[in-house]
Amino acid sequence: MATSDRIRKLVSEHEIVLFMKGEPAAPKCGFSAGVVKVLEAVGRPYIGVDVLEDPFLREGLKEFSDWPTFPQVYVKGEFIGGADIMREMYASGELQALFSADAGA
């Protein structure tokens, strides 16, 4: 499967996908660790994908997301941003609102 198809499959099959350095239980970068904390606080199920284990995925994602760094977060198939944007969106409540919208739909 082409890398871009693998990415599309991952982000369509899971509500929240965190592409990170290391695993959620053992992040290998402070920025990835920060996003794990944010997602734990949000409390929705998510999957963490370690890009250090997969150089093709790592390079493919930079192009797919048009974003040069990790972590990268996808919610409902859409690229939301990196560590800074996640932190800002959590602080402002925008991140939580992405999920509460389900209740009203």
């Binding site: 970068c29 040069p68 760094t69 941003g81 560590a83 800074d84």
Partner: protein, 80 residues
């Protein structure tokens, strides 16, 4: 080779001439930077689009020579 603050700031200012850039050395090691960037170029753009403008200004070194850049973007009406 890490990038120093002046080099990072110069690239941002070259791409966004009106930008006010504040660099903060997060770890004291000259390799983990935070930047607060204020520019009129961000007006009307999503956060992702704002950050992409800064990443594009830094170029291919972003994610390479420059390992980590914590980024906050602001518009002049909503400054740092």
């Amino acid at each position: 080779m890490p990038m120093d603050a002046e080099a990072i700031q110069a690239r941002i200012e070259a791409a966004l001439p009106d930008a006010q850039v504040l660099m903060i050395d997060l770890a004291g090691d000259g390799d983990h930077w935070a930047a607060r960037v204020t520019s009129a170029a961000f007006i009307g753009k999503s956060r992702i689009a704002q950050h992409k403008l800064v990443y594009a200004a830094i170029g291919a070194d972003m994610g390479g020579a420059l390992h980590a850049l914590a980024l906050q973007t602001f518009t002049p009406t909503n400054p740092v």
